[in-house]
């Protein structure tokens, strides 16, 4: 899998695809959608689609594709290579969402949560296949969140396609298994060859599985926390694990949209309106200075 484009710039997202087999533009196809790297606090999330003509599903099954989680890394690599060999009837496409994109989306002023991101990415990949001329007749998706709402959402996007969203789709449908293998192979490769944007000193690449509950991953996070910048962009800042390490071991950062103490405790007691007490207000500077955040340098 050629991920050189991603290695050049891994701060955003990157789409990667096989050539579209000619037969997939003529015969109705089944298309599977699956993801890898949803849970980890490190590295990208990879979405993949895999498709083949309905008439060739048995050939795909004959490759003995299975849910990527039940396969070893070498088995996944071998199966992906086989799918490449069968490029005359099996096609795939990937969307790699960098950890930086995940962080900035989830921590945006308008929060874009991981489920919505997942749903939109999946829909984007199905649309991509349609744009390439693939005759998609059926779509099978391993669910993220409630299958009913996800199914409804996808069915609305693609009214002419028969959409099936279900849990364990990666074990039930070979096209979904194939997609899960593509996603997992890509994710593993990206994580293994991660090009750190930052110039890090004594970088330790033994970060474990990347899952928040992995002690190796936790130790890696603690080792690489930087008091001002926090973590390298390889880390998903929006993850609870990352946030709690930052709270303990990095400097506090306050943004203009951070909740203030006033927001949290309300605006004081109602009796304060009847109090004659503190009537002396600080003299505010002229609006000209307030609008420019200019203050007299009374302290240094």
């Amino acid at each position: 899998m050629d991920l050189s484009e991603l290695e050049r710039d891994n701060t955003g997202r990157c789409r990667l695809n096989s050539p579209v087999p000619a037969v997939c533009r003529k015969a109705p196809c089944a298309l599977g959608v699956d993801e890898a790297g949803r849970g980890p606090v490190l590295g990208p999330m990879v979405y993949a689609i895999c498709y083949c003509p309905l008439s060739r599903l048995t050939d795909l099954e004959a490759l003995k594709v299975a849910d990527s989680k039940t396969l070893s890394e070498s088995e996944r690599d071998r199966l992906f290579a086989k799918m490449e060999e069968d490029g005359d009837f099996v096609g795939w496409a990937l969307d790699v969402l960098s950890p930086n994109l995940i962080s900035t989306s989830m921590l945006g002023r308008v929060k874009y949560n991981l489920n919505s991101m997942s749903h939109d990415t999946a829909a984007g990949l199905v649309q991509y296949a349609l744009d390439q001329g693939v005759k998609v007749a059926q779509v099978f998706v391993d669910t993220v969140g409630l299958p009913e709402t996800y199914q409804k959402r996808l069915q609305q996007c693609f009214p002419d396609i028969e959409v099936t969203v279900t849990a364990k789709a990666d074990a039930l449908y070979p096209v979904v298994s194939a997609a899960s293998i593509c996603a997992k192979v890509a994710r593993d490769q990206v994580v293994k060859n991660w090009q750190f944007v930052e110039k890090l000193q004594d970088l330790d690449i033994d970060y474990g599985s990347g899952y928040p509950n992995d002690p190796k991953t936790k130790a890696w996070l603690r080792k690489h926390v930087e008091p001002i910048f926090g973590f390298p962009q390889f880390v998903r800042f929006s993850w609870r694990t990352a946030q709690s390490i930052l709270e303990k071991e990095a400097e506090v950062v306050t943004w203009e949209d951070s909740p203030t103490e006033e927001d949290q405790v309300g605006h004081g007691k109602i009796t304060s309106y009847f109090n004659e007490g503190h009537r002396t207000r600080p003299r505010l500077p002229h609006r000209y200075f307030q609008e420019r955040s200019l203050e007299s340098a009374t302290t240094l």
Partner: protein, 169 residues
Amino acid sequence: MESSDEEDVVKYRVHLRPITLRNAAPATLHFLPCEIPVNRPAPVERFFTPAIRQGPRGLEVSFRGRSLRGEEVEVPPSLVGYVMRMEEKGEVSGKQDFPEGSEDEEEQELLEPPEALERDFDRFMGASASFSRFTVWGLETIPGPDAKVRAALTWPSLAAAIHAPVQED
């Protein structure tokens, strides 16, 4: 500005080390849309600078997992930017303050007579860097022409105008 108890305010006489203004090396500055209530060095060159991208809509970077959009702001003509640093009490400045002869009038004005120095309330500050431009970053959006800092840069020329002597007709 927070302190309303006048008694708590310690008064200092602040002296500028004029020679530091001439020797201040140009620095790259980033103005972030957040507050970090500490004063300490940060590895900007290792963490921040390499992550800056030129996007279709200006400069892009992220800080602490939040997306920033930035643009360059020039210091207005006739002004110079300095990063000022207060010397710790008792800290001995490596550079002597009174180089022979070469003072121009403005600097002469800033200098205190030598015997006035090093009293309890004397503090010294000097420029640690200079700049003629800096990058202003906005949270998810380009700060744009209405950015507070741009408006703030118009104050020196207004201040000069309102403090200038009025010519009588």
